[in-house]
Amino acid sequence: MTFMHKLASTAAALALTAGAALAEPALIFDLGGKFDKSFNEAAYEGAKRWAGETGGSYKEIEMQSEAQREQALRRLAESGANPVVMTGFAFGDVLNQVAPDFPGTKFAIIDMVVDQPNVRSVVFTEHEGSYLVGMMAAKASKTGTVGFIGGMDIPLIRRFGCGYAQGVKAVNPNAVIIQNMTGTTPAAWNDPVKGAELARSQKAQGADVIYAAAGGTGIGVLQAAADEGILSVGVDSNQNYMHPGKVLTSMLKRVDNAVYEAFKMGTDLQTGVQVMNLASGGVGYAMDDNNASLVSADMQAAVDAAAAEIIAGTRAVHDYMSDNSCPVN
């Protein structure tokens, strides 16, 4: 974590002299809000880092409802903000319509590919990060049964689950993986009560490590796991601190880096698809004081070795979204 920061800030210091952009960049947070302890908060951290390092200012809007998406996007583009960065796959359709109307403005979208000449699409290889935490979960599990709780049942979340399952099976081919999705509507991102109940149900079936990729629902999962005396794995931001000593690790998705880089490039934003993978530090797992006692040196070595193999291309992790199926369950 700290190493990553250092690395990034060194790179930033070098780039600083390149000169500040003329236009202010803008950031749009998806539903769930700026301080969601997870996805959007990571985006905010990236913007804050950019502002702190360059002394620049930026505009921001928090979505309050589904209906505001297009309005917010157009308003920022009309106000001259450039580039306009937005978090979340849900902006995909809207951006596809709005981007051609503002050919002089650069847009960046996270978690979705929008094929327009002035759009930068940032996608993460969540299956790789999930694979690593899956390996850790399998190594930490004493029962040989681990759990996965997803939020809304969409291919993106299945990608998390599939990568996780592959990581678990890589360590223990006989492991049982209990997978639950919270629901099929956006309400599934904000139902901690159901998340907690799903976690208790998985624990009752023998799971002793549970990975939650479920937004606000995950808070209930982590809480129930801590209450029941089993381990959990956080997602997107580092959530290890939420229950020190009870969260095995967190699958990091460096949304902050994506926003930071987009802001840094300013109006010269490089368009096209950018894949944030393990090799580029886009995904990873979190280690800090809160989980140091849970992760043995042997565990970390095995996971780091696997990470090196994935980066080198000698270990393949199947991407659920490439063919909408998962080789392991």
């Binding site: 302890k37 997978q179 999705m181 309400a187 904000n190 901690p192 159901k194 109940e197 149900s201 606000g216």
Partner: protein, 334 residues
Amino acid sequence: MALGAHLGRAGAVMDLATLIQILDSTLRLATPLLLACLAGLFSERAGVFDIGLEGKMLIAAFAAGAAAAVTGSVWLGLIAGIGASLALSAVHGVASIGFRGNQLISGVAINFLAAGLTGLIGQRWFGLGGRTPQLPEGARFGPITLPFAETLAGVPVLGPVWAELISGHTLLVYVALAAVPASWWVLYRTRFGLRLRAVGENPAAVDTAGISVARLRFGAILIAGLLCGIAGAYLATGLVAGFVKDMTAGRGFIALAALVFAKWRPWQALGACLLFGLLEAVANRYQNIEIGDFIVPVQVMQAAPYVLTVVILAGFVGRAIPPRAGGEPYVKER
């Protein structure tokens, strides 16, 4: 569905331990439904439709979570939750009893108000995206171990049933269960209950007897507010540790469905809520259930409460007759 196919082995392993775990989960999930359902029962039996159960639960969950987080006391949280819910009840009362407004519109307004207010105040207060801070141990309702849970543990069947199913819940679960006979007694064995039911059937008759219709209806909806307050507090401080935006997730509407399913009677309300809780617990436990070659997807269980309610309303299983004066503001004849 490939994911689910491997999980659904419902028929294969249904031993006692599994059954107890599912029923245990049922009890936890049924508690907020039961409290909200009884709240609706009091209100609707007095002739005031209440589709604002969801909103009242939500604001109570927020108030309970926020107060418990700030004061560190779960009891102050409970009081704050009940207070917030009572305040919304009073709004409903003033609008639909005092000003004889449309009860459904007032209920919808309460739902919107609660959804908006909790997010707004939560964001201004804690700056966590409408969430309250995580509650520490003392600010939550902990599980209660009933007497003899350890002594009986060795006894077959009864031991695990007592120790794991009946014992070990939070206080509010037992409060909700106790509220069922209490509601029955109040409604059917007290003068207040008789008048309350009468005011929902024929308010003119009650008025003729010289009893204030408005006061009785106000009393009923305040009881509803109290029960919704407990339900909300249970969500935020019993089941999980803190409030999350929109955390009621439609439970108020399921409670309304349960109320229709129970045909506006307390014991049947218990049965309906336990049934709906069981459906949710089974859906949580098994993503898909395989019966022979046929796979029942999890959505079937999630939709079941609504489907069952429609079946009941359509009159397939006896008739569900709501209180006759329900939904109509009472206007004195001149």
